[in-house]
């Protein structure tokens, strides 16, 4: 029996209204996004700021409701679900950590409080065992001695430690899906690897399905199995990460790859041609490819018809008339 993927997203869209009653426009933050997260695999969601990637994570965390499309959890659509019992069940399976480690902790509460709350809300263990479980979780994320750490306030911890507390909190409910929204971008460089290694360990030991949202291709390559590249609210390329990074189809992916400073390729650094343009999600977008103003490969059809996501290579799909034509 094939089990449904723990979390699947189908044609997910989210529009935000901007302007006032007289001049209303809509930002298409997320537009027709579909993918699934598989157990024991890390999927990287890569894009620039404004691409919609954080909105996708928040949609999956049910912090927003989608404008269209479905979020399927264990096969059934949860987007409309309102009953507390069902919402709580979802939250016990899908957890999230945020970009700002300090901001994601309540400054007036101790570490213990943060980790205790989910244990109590979801009744993971009986009250007598809570202290023990809090210490276990702290040990799991590498924060020792746990008794000392549990008594601290967020401001007493370093950024890396704060993020580990956030991870411990998310792990408390023993989730199947873990959403990580730029978890390392605000941390010191030498600490980032530690957090990434922790994610890898959790994936391997517990079979959790991860969504790793980032703008940093290099860290995505380090942890992820699959990659989804987002531009202006749409997925423009997806596939196994090594494959996509070694032979990218979409011009935007190629642009990203060329732009990242890579110490290993210093001596072959090439000046890349870049047209002007913003990567932010389109406001009331018209038909046609959203990358067309910046694309070196653009042909006539690109400004008229929105390219569909087409699997041009085995398991690798791109949204481009030129490199992944749909006939």
């Amino acid at each position: 029996m094939t089990t449904a993927a723990p979390l699947e997203v189908r044609s997910l869209s989210k529009r935000f209204a901007i302007g006032n009653a007289f001049r209303r426009a809509h930002v298409h933050a997320v537009d027709d996004v579909s993918f699934e997260l598989r157990p024991g695999k890390i999927t990287a969601l890569v894009g620039e700021s404004g691409s919609g990637k954080s909105t996708v994570a928040r949609l999956l965390a049910r912090l927003h409701d989608p404008s269209e499309g479905a979020v399927l959890f264990e096969g059934s659509d949860v987007s409309g679900v309102r009953r507390r019992r069902d919402v709580l069940h979802y939250r016990s399976q899908v957890q999230m950590i945020f970009q700002d480690p300090f901001g994601s902790l309540n400054p007036v509460k101790t570490v213990r409080h943060h980790i205790e709350r989910p244990l109590r809300i979801h009744r993971i263990v009986p009250p007598a065992q809570i202290e023990e479980r809090v210490h276990d979780l702290l040990r799991t994320v590498g924060l020792v001695p746990p008794a000392e750490i549990a008594a601290k306030y967020p401001y007493e911890l370093s950024g890396g430690q704060q993020q580990r507390v956030a991870i411990a909190r998310a792990l408390a409910v023993e989730p199947k899906v873990f959403l990580a929204d730029e978890p390392i971008s605000m941390l010191d460089v030498s600490i980032r690897i530690g957090i990434l290694n922790l994610m890898l360990r959790l994936k391997e030991e517990r079979g959790i399905a991860f969504l790793y949202v980032t703008h940093d291709l290099a860290s995505a390559r380090y942890v992820a199995d699959d990659i989804l590249v987002m531009y202006a609210g749409q997925i423009v390329e997806r596939g196994p990460i090594e494959q996509v990074l070694s032979a990218p189809l979409h011009p935007y992916t190629r642009l990203l790859l060329a732009a990242v400073p890579d110490p290993a390729t210093k001596l072959q650094a090439q000046r890349i041609e870049m047209r002007k343009g913003l990567a932010s999600a389109a406001v009331d977008p018209s038909e046609g490819c959203r990358f067309v103003t910046r694309c070196p490969l653009a042909i006539d059809v690109c400004s008229r018809v929105t390219p569909p996501l087409v699997e041009a290579q085995p398991e690798q799909a791109a949204r481009c008339h030129v490199t992944a034509p749909s006939n």
Binding site: Q95, L105, P107, G142, A147, A151
Partner: protein, 332 residues
């Protein structure tokens, strides 16, 4: 020393000393009270307010005369041994008035403060967090109450309240003053609502109630306490006016009433400072004490301020002989 094995996940490197666990000495003192006692400003404030409360409690024991006693032989007397604070134009003893008046004034201020702040906090913060129609309704209410001029509002409300006396005044003050604070607290809650830790609490599964009262409010204690002090102060100032409008009971004495009569009789113009000074000083003293307590409350709601005063707390502990103040102990 390289005690950290790089093949393990990089573990903790605690460079800060652990916060000493606070355990009571002779008396078990709750954490927040220990903090307030530890901060010199709030300690002073507590003493000042405490003093006033004690005065109010023992008032019948120390006042020499009934405050409304007439004594036409002793009108307008400057402070003397017989009349510590002097007498009014009708010969009433001002000391008794101040000391017994403390009861009504403190009660009025505290009750009005609690009621107004309570309503403002609950409505304002819940509206901010819940958003949507709840927010729209509450916002509308706030705007209505803010734009209605207070005096006509008082007159209308007093028309509905048949009883006269303390209860009426408390309700009226709360009705007039809640909207101002509600708007401010709503604003602060709005800015906190989108912080990641609130979103994280939501993702953890916390209910709306628990988020509002367990996560948001603790971060707003400073502002809520300040709201209370403001209402307290305004209540005491407008006390006399309210009584005069017929909402209270002019026969009972309070600082506001004493001040009112002092003003009406133009005592200062006649060089008689004491009917103004003493009740005014009592009021100022109390409010000053409350404001000083606010300084300590900042520490309760911002843990970062606490560690800078660990040293001083130990000193205080020594001074008070380690009895009332929690003694810091090495952590477990």
């Amino acid at each position: 020393m390289s005690q950290l094995d790089p093949t393990l996940d990089p573990a903790l490197d605690v460079s800060l000393p652990a916060t000493p666990r606070r355990v009571g000495g002779r008396l078990r003192v709750p954490g927040w009270l220990a903090l307030l006692l530890g901060n010199p400003k709030s300690r002073t404030g507590l003493v000042m307010v405490g003093f006033m409360v004690i005065v109010a409690l023992i008032a019948p024991l120390i006042s020499v005369a009934h405050p409304n006693d007439f004594n036409l032989l002793a009108v307008r007397q400057a402070p003397s041994w017989n009349h510590l604070f002097g007498t009014t134009d009708q010969g009433s003893d001002i000391f008794s008035q101040v000391v017994l008046g403390a009861r009504r004034s403190l009660l009025l201020g505290a009750a009005a403060g609690l009621l107004a702040t309570g309503v403002a906090a609950i409505l304002g913060i819940t509206a901010a967090y819940a958003g949507g129609i709840v927010d729209d309704v509450v916002n509308f209410l706030i705007n209505v109450f803010l734009t209605i001029p207070p005096i006509p509002l008082l007159v209308v409300v007093s028309g509905y309240l048949k009883n006269r006396g303390m209860g009426t005044m408390i309700v009226v003050l709360a009705v007039v003053l809640w909207a101002f604070e509600a708007r401010i607290l709503r604003g602060q809650a709005l800015s906190l609502k989108n912080r990641d830790f609130i979103q994280a609490a939501k993702v953890a599964g916390e209910s709306t109630w628990r988020i509002v009262f367990g996560e948001l409010v603790p971060n707003m204690i400073s502002r809520i306490a300040a709201a209370f002090v403001l209402v307290f102060y305004i209540a005491l100032l407008t006390d006399a006016g309210l009584e005069f409008l017929g909402l209270g009971d002019m026969s009972k004495t309070s600082w506001g009433v004493t001040l009112y009569w002092a003003q009406v009789n133009s005592t200062v113009l006649q060089g008689e400072w004491w009917p103004f000074f003493f009740p005014g000083a009592a009021l100022a003293f109390t409010v000053l004490g409350l404001v000083l307590i606010l300084a300590g409350i900042d520490e309760v709601s911002n843990p970062r301020l606490r560690s800078e005063r660990t040293k001083r707390r130990r000193l205080v502990g020594m001074l008070l002989g380690g009895r009332l103040v929690a003694r810091p102990e090495a952590s477990a």
